[in-house]
Symmetry: C2
DNA sequence: CTGAAAGCGCTTACAG
DNA sequence: CTGAAAGCGCTTACAG
């Protein structure tokens, strides 16, 4: 392998001169520069970045922790992130907790050992906040709270909830089923606010529906990594709907809890992630139900599924580009000034916990009825 | 930052002893070992991997070049790859050519500068074979030919073509439309074989349909990165179908070239990637066509779209896990013995060009008719 | 089995 | 503006 030393020898100059030329820093006379460049060309010299990394204590790589790329949501997020990080000269190191059955601890350990410069955390974690704050290296969180000193970026899920509630109320929905992750996500973690901002969508939606007197219930599936789990849950849901529609002879009490079966309006709206919504469209077809006449369906996320699900889905779109931009700029800040706390720049797009809030929007598709 | 030197000092031993303990290599007496371990614990010593990298000339990272993660096919591939690479203690460095508008040259340069140990190439490239073979560092190709010395892994697309032809023939299809990438992909590149193995699917399918006397045509869309391009192409296709179905008044000659419009059977089968198939289902619904009675739809790839497209798609499934396993083991070989050429182990699952061929399978869904 | 020494390839103060 | 020197933090021959 040809190194700087060889170039220096060939050009008849010192090591440092070569270094200055390679890095285009400092002043080197035209003459020297040319001789060095010529020597580099002749020897086909390629700088070894490893040595630079060691000296600088940096690798230029950011670990992005997600559960799995198989879920279009994370694929889209990572895609956007890679583009943004690249603009800051940072590489994206893929860290999936489910795809490689490696816990996040493995990646945190790599962060500690300087194999990456920082971590963007977008996967579930059981570690408490002090685990994350004690790492002492750059970490930024997406859609979850990891501790006071760790910046968070998330979508405005409350707005999502309001937009969807509005759509449902105005289109005359009478019985809404929300399909989402495990109920345990709704639990507080001391702070009085859940660490899973996403559940705020369902909470806000639920409150609004309550206020409008619209019946609603929540069906929990497995964790986000289990895409098939969603399919099963939606499948079972429709079987149940069949039962309730085919008369009051339903033996199970699953279709209602606090009212006599007779008076319960049939389910006429299903709400959940894009995956849930896509499955719902499929089941509706299979069960001979007309969408949106018999049942309205509203997705959440705005991934490619929203346009590939057999019908153009009405969805809440998360703004992946803006999210990625914010995450990237937070991690760049953290990498550049490791000691600086949050740039408390009194940004009004932050919530009480100081999270960076990105707006969402409602995209009307063909799976909802026109509003009154 | 606390380094090995500090640990050595604290434990009262030499640097090398600490190194031996950290690496669990060589023999160290129990006593020494304990003292060192204790010191490491007390000082909270964390080895700096950067120094190791420099010494070993390795980073433990493999670059995976794909066009974009936004396409479920590549998301699934990368997901599988990450899992496999992790089993070999290798990290996955995401290198998207479209997401970060960075050409592959940028990543090859990083490979050269030792920022990664090898590259798995799964994106389109305009560079000729000798560009790739001249890199002189580990490269493995997925689904494309990059030169004699570069190992290739691909699915058995010919088999895919046969399976689909069989399905179409037996179910009585009369007019098949294939929707795929730009026609230019079909061109030879000297070697007498296209560098895009995927087109072999369409070629084989076409030959078989010819043999069975079934009419077929090819509609070209933009490059794979342009998912919306597929949607548009399929949309236009259905508009054309409407026209041809509503009588012979079609002014355009697009629907046929070598026969009078009158005698052409209406299109009753659409074949393409999962994305194409999903769009086709959607358009069929929108146009009031019954699937599979009026039109059969067959996808290719077997990504999550195959189960989220409004109907369970009949698809050719690529075996992502096996593909990832093969790619990973090839790159591991290449990294470990840089000079070794192909392990010419006379594997019978290789084609003439020496590619490693992985079987595909047909998954029957609800978008095809029963076979005779 | 343990310690002093050289070195991985590059950078950056620091004298000339 | 250029050159000799020390050092990034760790590893591995090589003597003891």
């Amino acid at each position: 392998m040809v190194g700087m030393r060889d170039v220096a020898k060939k050009a008849g100059v010192s090591l440092s001169t070569v270094s200055l030329v390679v890095n285009a820093s400092g002043y080197v006379s035209q003459d020297m520069r040319h001789r060095v460049e010529q020597a580099m060309r002749e020897l086909d010299y390629i700088p070894n970045e490893l040595a630079r990394n060691l000296y600088r204590g940096r690798t230029g790589m950011i670990g992005v922790i997600v559960p799995t790329l198989r879920h279009p949501f994370f694929a889209t997020l990572v895609s956007a992130l890679q583009g943004r990080l690249a603009k800051h000269e940072l590489q994206t190191l893929l860290c999936s907790t489910a795809d490689a059955d490696t816990g996040e601890a493995e990646y945190v350990s790599r962060l500690r050992r300087h194999m990456m410069d920082g971590i963007i955390m977008a996967a579930h974690t059981d570690h408490p906040a002090d685990y994350w704050t004690s790492i002492g290296r750059p970490v930024v969180a997406f859609d979850r709270t990891l501790g006071d000193t760790i910046a968070t970026v998330r979508s405005d899920h409350e707005r999502g909830g309001r937009l969807v509630a509005d759509q449902l109320v105005k289109s005359g929905a009478r019985h809404v089923v929300m399909v989402g992750g495990p109920r345990s996500q709704f639990d507080d973690r001391g702070e009085g606010a859940t660490t899973f901002p996403t559940v705020r969508y369902f909470q806000t939606l639920g409150e609004r529906l309550d206020a409008a007197g619209i019946r609603h219930e929540y069906v929990a599936c497995g964790p986000v990594t289990d895409v098939e789990g969603y399919a099963r849950a939606v499948h079972m849901l429709f079987d149940r709907l069949d039962e309730s529609r085919s008369g009051g002879s339903s033996g199970s009490s699953a279709s209602g809890s606090d009212a006599g079966n007779g008076g319960i309006p049939p389910v006429d709206a299903i709400v959940g992630s894009d995956v849930v919504a896509a499955c719902a469209v499929k089941e509706a077809f299979a069960h001979g139900l007309n969408v949106p006449r018999d049942v309205q369906i509203i997705g959440y996320d705005g991934t490619c599924l929203a346009d590939c699900a057999g019908m153009t889905l009405t969805v809440i779109k998360q703004d992946f580009d803006t999210i990625a931009e914010r995450l990237a700029s937070h991690i760049v800040d953290a990498v550049n000034e490791p000691n600086a706390r949050d740039h408390a720049d009194a940004d009004d797009s932050k919530d009480a916990a100081g999270a960076d809030i990105v707006p969402v929007s409602l995209r009307i598709g063909d799976t909802t009825r026109p509003v009154a």
